[in-house]
């Protein structure tokens, strides 16, 4: 689960971590009064969306599509600048490297006091899958795209693995500070910050904390000038305070509905809807549709123990997508019985008035019964024995690839 920068900074402030003063705003008036309250000559006016690359993004008018402004993070040198930037950001569509062409509408701003930057660093904490340990990555190349740094100068990225039961030791923290070329009070400031930030990561069950840039000020203080924080969905049950920070307007409405029904759904760009049990098989189904010249419209895993109602919800979610021209159901019955799936398929096609071609492949537990139920239904349902046959049939039924 992702949160906005302003929410992350508020959590950091609460944890005693070094951030500069800032105010969350949703209108130009609020932005101006925030500027007056902060009493900082220079402020940053930052768009708040759940995607990176804001600084280099471009704002467009969502109605006309006309370009409004370059840059989703602006430095304002006076009150008029704040008014101009806030006006240009709010309600407009921000397109960044990470949002794709659709972009995201800016509904929230963060007005933050300026600070005197001596140097910018990159800092991230995440869980390394291979080592099965939390990993801290830091680089002196702050403000840059870390993937580019990793590509061009991997030696510039310093890594330390942290024992979750111990935290960042003084030795590790001092070593990392020294790798970044910090000494004296800047090093002391870094050590306190990194130990505090790691405790925050562990206590709040973060999936990732990325600070780009982390800055050293002219006074040799380390300041978290950015806050990209995401949380482990599986651990939200023990963090009700974090759940409250969820901004549903930043998430795909259909994906939220699917999740509420216990389904896992991801929308794609093709025209063949898929309904599958199991995440690996659902991915393989998409892949095989593509292999036979079609394009999958979605990933949809109904899970191990779906009932008739869930199958019907799954169908309705697939059919909401106007691009869908046909549907492939691929079930390997283990826990899930094929007769239950067959009944769900029939109930759904009747309730929803499905007219698009439908191919169903059922194997595993009670597959004979499932196939018999489909055959006896009198509905126009095509069946297949293998995934390849199912994919070939649905692609040909919708008239080949796109």
């Amino acid at each position: 689960m992702n949160i906005h920068e302003y929410q992350g900074k508020s959590l950091f402030r609460g944890a005693g971590l070094p951030v500069v003063a800032g105010v969350h705003c949703t209108s130009v008036e609020q932005a101006l009064s925030a500027y007056d309250d902060l009493a900082s000559k220079i402020v940053a006016v930052k768009s708040q969306i759940h995607a990176g690359g804001r600084g280099k993004g471009i704002l467009y008018d969502p109605e006309s599509g006309a370009e409004v402004m370059q840059g989703g993070v602006k430095i304002a040198f006076n009150r008029d600048d704040v008014e101009t930037y806030a006006t240009n950001l709010l309600g407009n569509k921000l397109v960044t490297k990470q949002t794709g062409e659709v972009g995201k509408i800016v509904n929230n701003l963060y007005i933050e006091s300026g600070c005197a930057i001596a140097h910018e660093y990159y800092l991230a904490i995440l869980v390394d899958r291979e080592e099965k340990m939390p990993l801290i990555m830091a680089s002196t190349e702050g403000g840059m795209d870390i993937e580019e740094v990793a590509e061009s100068t991997p030696e510039a990225i310093h890594k330390i693995y942290v024992d979750i039961n111990v935290g960042v030791t003084d030795e590790q923290a001092n070593g990392l500070a020294s790798s970044l070329g910090l000494d004296g009070s800047a090093s002391d400031s870094f050590v306190t910050m990194i130990q505090g930030l790691f405790s925050f990561f562990a206590e709040k069950d973060c999936a990732m904390v990325e600070i780009n840039p982390l800055v050293r000020t002219d006074d040799d203080e380390m300041v978290l000038l950015d806050a990209k924080v995401s949380f482990d969905e599986n651990a939200l049950f023990r963090h009700p305070d974090i759940v409250e920070l969820r901004d549903l307007s930043e998430e795909e409405a259909t994906e939220i509905r699917a999740k509420e029904a216990g389904l896992s759904y991801v929308k794609l760009d093709g025209n063949i809807g898929c309904l599958v049990n199991g995440a690996g098989l659902a991915m393989a189904t998409m892949d095989v549709i593509k292999l036979y010249g079609g394009e999958p419209a979605n990933f949809l895993d109904v899970g191990g123990g779906a009932d008739e109602q869930q199958v019907e919800t799954a169908f309705s979610i697939i059919m909401e997508d106007p691009n869908v021209k046909g549907i492939l159901v691929n079930i390997f019955g283990g826990i899930m019985r094929c007769d239950i799936i067959a009944r769900g398929v029939i109930a759904a096609t009747e309730a929803l008035g499905l007219e698009d071609p439908l191919v169903v492949r059922l194997v595993g537990t009670n597959f004979e019964e499932g196939r018999a139920i489909l055959a006896a239904s009198g509905l126009n349902i095509h069946t297949a024995e293998t995934l390849a046959e199912g994919a070939e049939k649905i692609v040909s039924l919708i008239g080949g690839g796109q």
Partner: protein
């Protein structure tokens, strides 16, 4: 032989009185697995009804292992308690008999709980963790076998193909594919789709390499992480038996989690095409389509003079 789990392995079920625990333990018993009892905190002394048999329930894993000399435990407890259940099982196997296999089926365990649990298990020699978020492990026998998990038992038969996979239903496809060319399985291991898990591909491959019953291995990967690439490098250096593979997620978009917590292409890493390229360069023949795994396996067996 087979790997890690013998056909008649004595199995305990953690969370045996819960809905999932009772249901799947009953299925295991029906298949012929040797379920010797279970554990539910606070319910020690009861009997659990598994259909054709009744088995005793203990309050702790230590008591259960002491009483039964169990070889393995399977965990069906809810996600928030699963990390602690793994640690309890590991400590109990270590102190009571010095070894054991823990199979965690539970999906949705917090990642940092798994970081703690895997660190704990790693420090205990002789104790192995399989999963979490996996279908389990099965060693088929002539009459059934050790079915430890949620896989449909009926699709399996005893044979000489090892199967290792990150996915559940795709493992069943792979098993069905071995059957389609008249080959059974030595052991099938689901290592799970979470970012942090216990046993990995290399652990399985190295055990299959050493296992006399296993002649060849089917390895099923999916997007996310670099475990397939590391396994491929290991195979190139160490594996004499044929390995064939499949990787799911060629069409998965970057930055989107595809059902499994670990199935995500992040920062340009973890794509299916990179994995297939690494596997093929290590001599692992990959099917483009799970329906072709049987044919690819048959060819590999023929080329190795095994058919």
């Amino acid at each position: 032989m087979a790997i890690w789990i013998e056909e008649d392995a004595k199995i305990l079920v953690q969370g045996i009185t819960g809905k999932q625990g009772t249901f799947h333990a009953t299925k295991s018993v029906e298949f012929g697995a040797n379920v010797v009892g279970g554990v539910t905190p606070g319910k020690g002394g009861q009997m659990a009804d598994l259909g054709i048999i009744q088995v005793p329930v203990w309050g702790t894993m230590s008591e259960a292992i002491s009483a039964t000399d169990a070889d393995a435990s399977v965990i069906y407890v809810p996600p928030r308690f699963a990390g602690a259940a793994i640690i309890e099982a590991a400590d109990a196997f270590k102190s009571v008999k010095g070894n054991g296999v823990i199979v965690c089926i539970t999906e949705g365990i917090p990642t940092l709980d798994m970081v703690k649990a895997t660190a704990h298990v790693r420090g205990i020699e002789g104790v192995r963790l399989i999963g979490p978020n996996c279908p389990g492990i099965i060693t088929p026998s002539e009459t059934g076998g050790a079915k430890i998990g949620i896989m449909p038992g009926s699709i399996h038969a005893k044979g000489r193909i090892g199967v290792v996979s990150k996915s559940g239903t795709l493992t069943y496809e792979a098993v069905a594919q071995t059957m389609s060319i008249d080959e059974g399985q030595s052991t099938c291991v689901g290592i799970g789709g979470d970012p942090v898990n216990g046993t990995g591909f290399i652990d399985c491959l190295s055990a299959f390499e050493a296992d006399e019953q296993t002649a060849a291995v089917v390895m099923i990967g999916e997007i996310g992480g670099t475990a397939e690439e590391e396994a491929a490098a290991w195979v190139a250096e160490n594996m004499s038996k044929p390995v064939v593979g499949f990787v799911a997620g060629m069409t998965a978009p970057p930055g989107k989690r595809m059902g499994h917590a670990g199935a995500i292409i992040a920062g340009g890493k973890g794509t299916a095409s990179e994995k297939v390229a690494a596997m093929e360069s290590a001599g692992i023949r990959c099917a483009n389509d799970p329906s072709e795994i049987g044919a690819v396996l048959l060819k590999a067996l023929q080329d190795a003079g095994l058919r």
